[in-house]
Point group: C2
Chain length 302, copies 2
């Protein structure tokens, strides 16, 4: 059975200190799908776009074994659009505009075959929609969930319901502090674990990622990157690499979850090396394997 | 031959959200010496205090195999005093006062036997004084150096002279960015390496530490700490653990430098568990060894 991904699909205008792109492929579903496609397939997506959504993007996704049956194309409507500009140090971005367009009416309807999915990634969308997806699933076994400050601040009640039904929550350090109201990340993790998720992953950007299980912690390093061209989608690429790897081998031991976190970090590192989704479009298994070895050399000692 | 340490010795008033202490033992030399003492000895220190410096502190240091021949005690003068208050999240502290007292006239004079030292830690003092120490040494083989924003901003010319003569520079991430004028830490590290030091260690607090060699990088995790009682001296404890470990086994392979970084991180983690130097005063070899194993479990994957 495939890996189901529900989230946003959009077109982005991105400006960084190095370059800018317009009308580039964006959205959480897109980054997650591409990253996961290097490990498993098919990837089933549920999303919505307008009839302005370029056919070439659909072709590219299909070439990555992404099944578009759940992609609703609304005639006469426009695709979700987002524009942002990154500051010099790339850690801060200003949103220039957010045109929800068709995404405003997004109400995910799973195709019948997707209702049987066991492995699901809930991309960063309204918790109410995440709940609707969970309600349509007949037998979810492994649910990975993303969220953000906007929903923590504005839809906490629904978010708490979601957290009770997910296996893994993936958020960044500032989101973890906000969600738990606790500055110490280790204490924050323990508080969040009590909200429901079996595992918690806290992404820390240039500082790597932490994986928390019931009684144990894993600290993954960040790949040492001199040239980050576009941070957009890094977190989604992480979720895609992490879950794609687990979907392939179905091994939920903590040792294998550690490896999955490293594969997530690897896909995030490839993602930020190029603009938009370009860094995830043409990777070879050897490149991914070699970067795994680099990650191991980076952090191993005895 | 012993390990030579030159830096500050003082008395601190420290307030954190959890508690406060007054008149507690402080200063870079103190933390470095205690941390190093668990790996090697004797520790020879060069420093200055007033006649108000409590005898009990000298006794405690001597019990840790610290040789006080180079400690100048100025009659009728007062010891360096520092007061600070940490904010709720412990990442920010306000300096309440700095009374240099005898430290204002500190002009390190090495005892004859210390002039023959091969292993030296230059604690965070004026680069001019660090240069004076280097000039007195007959045959320095391995020099580890600390500095801070204050000297980067105010004594850059002297600092650059120091950097050409040290083997390892240990600074934190904000200092690395300031020294290199470069926000990307990896680029910052390459710039700083060109200033002279053979190895660079960038401490990142709750995010661990990075060790940079000529062509290679090591990323050490941070120990997951829920209860940090007093961050004072953590960086000095790191330097002491790192250099003490190397002084003991004299193995400068990159693999052993990695282990030394982990031992530095271990000593920093013990340091912050109690107020002042208390976390470094009564450790057992078994506690240190067990924490090494915990660090390995925290970051290993295959």
């Amino acid at each position: 059975m495939g890996l189901l991904i529900v989230g946003s699909i959009g077109l982005d205008d991105i400006e960084t200190p190095f370059d800018k792109v317009q009308n580039a492929l964006g959205g959480s579903t897109t980054y997650i799908s591409l990253a996961a496609s290097y490990f498993t397939g098919p990837i089933e997506i549920v999303g919505i776009v307008g009839d302005d959504f370029p056919k070439e993007h659909m072709k590219m996704l299909e070439d990555h074994n992404v099944d578009l049956e759940g992609l609703e194309i609304v005639e006469g409507a426009k695709t979700f659009r987002y524009g942002c500009k990154y500051h010099y140090d790339l850690n801060v971005r200003d949103s220039l505009y957010t045109h929800l367009n068709v995404f405003e009416k997004f109400n995910p309807q799973l195709p019948d075959k997707s209702k049987k999915s066991s492995y699901i990634i809930l991309g960063n969308i309204a918790p109410k929609l995440q709940l609707s997806v969970l309600d349509q699933l007949q037998n979810p076994k492994f649910v990975v969930c993303d969220t953000m400050n906007f929903w923590i601040n504005g839809a906490m009640e629904d978010l708490l319901k979601v957290l009770k039904r997910v296996n893994v929550l993936i958020i960044n350090d500032s989101e973890a502090r906000l969600l738990s109201n606790e500055p110490n990340l280790i204490k924050a993790a323990h508080k969040i674990s009590k909200m429901g998720p079996e595992y918690l992953i806290i992404k820390k950007g240039e500082h790597g990622a932490l994986l928390f299980g019931a009684e144990t912690v894993f600290s993954a390093p960040a790949y040492p990157m001199e040239n980050i061209f576009d941070p957009t989608g890094a977190g989604d690429a992480f979720a895609g690499g992490f879950t794609g790897y687990l979907h392939k081998n179905r091994d939920f031991s903590f040792d294998n979850l550690k490896r999955a976190v490293v594969y997530g970090s690897i896909m995030a590192s490839f993602c930020v090396e190029k603009f938009s989704t370009k860094g995830l479009e043409n990777l070879s298994p050897l490149e991914i394997r070699n970067r795994f070895i680099e990650f191991r050399e980076l952090s191993s000692f005895s």
